[in-house]
Symmetry: C2
Subunit: 273 residues, 2 copies
């Protein structure tokens, strides 16, 4: 593609399911001229407890699919896929690919005063240690406290967002973090911002909460502008959504997260890519 | 295969993950002369919240894989896959295929005195209404109360089996069932027997709890004997395990559920079948 074609080309965004819509929403807000192709791997979610090898295979299939749509850049809107697969897919594909972890880590480093940072996420994200590694590259003497919180996603999906059971689970997972004196905490899974108010209630105002979705959209904007491939003029935006399972269910959640109604969602067989 | 070859052929057993091992264990107990080929679809679990269409596609791939191992019969050791895919796969394949739902329903019908039966399971199992349909075929005026319990599996997997949070979630899901006067309740998901003692504590001794895993093994035994293809003599049993993701993690759980140590587990790419 030449530079004019690149400017008009869409952004690819993918996630294991619906969580990445919080990232898509930020891109829509901060880059209102860009077209978006979103893929949610709803047939194989969740990614959080699965092996690095599987997540790399899934991510490569999805990127091959997104490339058939001639995307100019890809955002991995999933912390687990970023943690397990970003390095591997960046080596294989020449499309620019950004994840959510580096932007989130950078924001936390900018925010912390006492260099004590908490990171929550799935089992895969925490086990990968990627947040810790990137934070320490920027702030070598940072103290990073990671904690996997596997019950957060099912509780959110069951509608227990503000239930006292969820408050108790937050206490079980995050008490150690609260008792240490972290001043910054990263919501390292795209579902967790939906628990943001309960988590803020728990920590009080002495802990700054970082949402990597917001930071990743800022990063994407910078990369597009630096490379001169941002879409400057696009009156009739297109947002297209693809899933690997049950478009109808995805639609309900999408219409809840996004500021407008999703018109069409197409189901594809991702295993063929 | 001729009748002698059929007698020696293994039984195929599959599940979305580890839950079906409770069924495999019952088959090992009740049919100690049979070889078993077990497949756990750990790369795509859980099945409970996914669409009928996807579950049928997954089940067909797995059955094609099991048939490469020349199984003489297949047990779908997963309530969701039985509910969503049993009819479809029975139409496509000539291998005898049995599920866990009919055996569970039959046991509940045999047990109930007041014809009021509770059924717990995943979203997919409850939505399918298959337990209700089969129970009513046998007992037309039965009253069946179904309830999806999506948090049970993550709670069990997080080790919260006897935690007071789990007791509270049991109360949230099952209070209506408790307040109705069911006298029989089916554990319609292979993970739920792991909550059996907490559920019995909750209902007290006036409700009889049915575990379809046990009943399915009895059914299998009957089918093999009626067709004269039971293995009557097998001094050196073979149990083989296959998964689609992370053999090591599966092994830990398998060694916890099964009465002996699993020697080898092989990871395969199920999407190729």
């Amino acid at each position: 593609m030449n530079i004019e074609e690149l400017k008009k080309a869409p952004i690819g965004v993918f996630d294991s399911g619906v969580g990445g819509l919080t990232v898509a929403r930020e891109i829509m807000r901060q880059l209102p001229n860009e077209d978006i192709i979103y893929f949610g791997d709803t047939a194989r979610l969740p990614y959080g407890s699965k092996s690095k090898e599987s997540i790399i295979r899934f991510s490569k299939q999805i990127i091959r699919f997104l490339r058939t749509k001639h995307v100019k850049a890809i955002v991995i809107a999933c912390n687990t896929a970023t943690a397990q697969a970003l390095d591997a897919v960046q080596q294989e594909f020449d499309t620019p690919i950004i994840g959510v972890i580096a932007p989130g880590a950078r924001a936390a480093v900018a925010e912390t005063k006492n260099k004590k940072i908490g990171v929550t996420g799935t089992e895969g994200t925490i086990r990968s240690n990627m947040y810790t590694r990137i934070i320490r590259e920027m702030l070598p003497d940072a103290e990073v406290l990671g904690k996997a919180c596997p019950l957060f996603v099912p509780l959110v999906e069951e509608g227990f967002k503000d239930h006292h059971i969820t408050e108790e689970v937050i206490d079980i997972y995050l008490r150690e973090m609260k008792e240490s004196d972290i001043d910054t905490m990263i919501l390292g899974c795209t579902h967790y911002p939906l628990l943001r108010s309960a988590i803020i209630r728990y920590f009080g105002d002495k802990v700054h909460i970082v949402n990597p979705a917001y930071e990743a959209a800022m990063d994407l904007k910078k990369i597009l502008e630096e490379n001169g491939i941002a879409n400057e003029n696009n009156e009739f935006n297109k947002y297209e959504f693809y899933v690997s399972d049950a478009a109808e269910k995805f639609k309900q959640f999408a219409n809840f997260v996004l500021p407008y109604d999703v018109k069409s969602i197409e189901q594809i067989n991702i295993e063929e890519y």
